[in-house]
Amino acid sequence: MAEVRLVDIEKKYGNFLAVPKQSLTIHDGEFLVLLGPSGCGKTTTMRMIAGLEDITSGDIMIKGERINDKPPKDRDIAMVFQNYGLYPHMTVRQNIEYPLKLRGMPKADRKDRVRETAEKVELDALLERRPSELSGGQRQRVALARAIVRTPSIFLMDEPLSNLDAKLRVTMRAELKHLHHELGVTTVYVTHDQMEAMTLANRVAVMREGKIVQLDTPKKIYAEPADLFVAGFIGSPSMNLIDGAVKDGVFRADGVEVPVDLADHDGVVLGIRPEELDITQDPGAAISGKLYALELTGESTLVTLRNGPSSVCARGHADFEADIDSPCHLAPKEGARIHLFDRATGERLL
């Protein structure tokens, strides 16, 4: 177990700034998720912690010790690589066993450990195969098993579930969460899937173009996105973002009129989550338009209405039914959170 501190770290590839100067502390035993779109520097950040990538400037501290110059093998970490990095000339069993062998575990113990771990990721039937004889999802599970077979001070996981089918992804997610609960090992987890981030993390660091734009608990990030980017990135379906302006204490856009507590301001984006909107028959409701689409998800129905260029989505009752193109009205629920952002800067206004 260990605390990881990144102090003013920066990474440049030649002239390209992949990760601008910033600091981040990952607490002892924490499950921290780096979340962001593809190419935003998540893998780079993780590789710097692992020691696979030189840092251009700054310090990395593990357990209070500066480890910038320590080779990866002395950092006591285990890592799942985004593209697996399996040992193609070894069987699945040998792949999983290799870290134990390197750390000098006796042969008999190794055998038990490998079997237990393989069962956890449902690989026990494939132990004698080679990676080339496995599907993508199976390879990913070998990579995962190889990382969790040992109990290191830090787990680094780079999109470890991205190639699994939906069902296995959900079970593996629970498995990882339980594993973290059981071992309490500090974990840094990279994903571009906000659902994974929300379900797994103690804290989420949302990244954009290499920069951490918000670092907080999933709950807080969901309830109070720091800016327009985070607001649009977190949540599924994503937050409704409506372009308009505030005048005399009212936000106005086509078919939208919401009283807000903000001074006059042009170029405002109003954000409200679909689950915080009610469908009403009241023609004086805050949002009006024509019904555009109905999508039944099982436990609820997603109702999309349109007015001019803007469309707004609400999560309604599973039984909700209406004709497409019929007039439709939405009103914020009692106590609903209304977010206001500056269009130009993306900054949060309210």
Binding site: A50, G51, L52, P71, P72, K73, R75, I77, A78, M79, F81, N83, Y84, G85, L86, Y87, P88, H89, Y98, P99, L102, R103, R130, P131, S132, E133, L134, G136, R139, A143, R146, N163
Partner: protein
């Protein structure tokens, strides 16, 4: 119609080239089994004999000691050159050191120097060191010749291996040397095998330096062939028998390379 025509033309050309290339070799094999009186005859109708092989291994030819020299020189050269070259190739492939490209070019450039230019300095050097006519001298010279070539060859194979597995091993707790031993070498094995055989063939066939630097004790097979040009004329049937001795090992190795050349070991490492 056109397709079959071009197909036939292609075949005909292949056959023609094969004949041109293989004819001298086939003729050598035939001659090796001929009696001296048949050696100059073009007729295929002769009484085959194994006597030539017996003769070349006995006095005064003593091909046995030359076989021994060739085997020792080639084997030791491979045994030293390939591991060194593999490490050098790995470094050139993986470490981003300043001046790396220039250094690599420098090593390769040794291959552009014609051997005749440096054979005399080598001769003087070994005479000074009192190492003329020793296998040791031949091994050193051959190392100088083949190592750059083998570095270049193995680097190509290592470049083709993705680094992901190596990085995984380093995180799993392996030192750099351990990574090379456990991960890189097994993955590069087909390439290293191929390079070793190339290296062996180059050394086995090396003529110029062996000719200049050996006299009696360290004579290798290719040089030994020259001794069949005597004052009694060229002893073609003996020379051919010795030629067969030189070619057969190379043939076997070439077959081996062909079988393993294209087989890679990297499948399944990454997505």
């Amino acid at each position: 119609m056109r397709k079959t025509l071009s197909y036939l033309a292609e075949r005909a050309l292949l056959v023609l080239i094969s004949i041109v290339v293989l004819f001298p070799i086939a003729w050598m094999f035939l001659t090796a089994f001929k009696q001296p009186r048949d050696a100059y005859s073009l007729s295929l109708n002769f009484e085959p004999t194994l006597q030539n092989f017996v003769t070349v291994f006995s006095d005064p030819w003593n091909l046995g000691s030359m076989v021994m020299n060739s085997v020792i020189v080639a084997t030791v050269t491979v045994a030293i050159a390939v591991p060194c070259a593999a490490l050098a190739a790995y470094s050139f492939s993986r470490f981003r050191v300043k001046g790396r490209k220039f250094l690599f070019f420098l090593i390769l450039s040794t291959q552009f120097i014609p051997a005749v230019v440096i054979v005399l300095p080598f001769f003087l050097m070994f005479r000074q060191l009192d190492m003329l006519d020793t296998r040791f001298a031949l091994i050193i010279v051959n190392l100088a010749i083949v190592t750059p070539f083998v570095i270049w060859m193995i680097k190509g194979f290592i470049d083709a291996i993705p680094t992901d597995s190596e990085e995984a091993a380093m995180i799993d707790g392996a030192s750099r040397l351990r990574v090379i031993k456990d991960i890189v070498m097994p993955m590069a094995a087909p390439g290293i095998m191929t390079s070793s055989i190339f290296c062996f063939i180059l050394t086995w066939n090396e003529f110029l330096f062996a000719l200049i630097l050996s006299r009696r004790d360290a004579v290798t097979l290719p040089v030994g062939l020259v001794s069949f040009r005597t004052e009694r004329g060229d002893l073609w049937e003996l020379m051919s028998a010795a030629g067969v001795m030189i070619t057969v090992p190379i043939f076997i190795m070439a077959l081996f390379i062909q079988k393993h050349f294209t087989r890679g070991m990297t499948a399944g490492a990454v997505k």
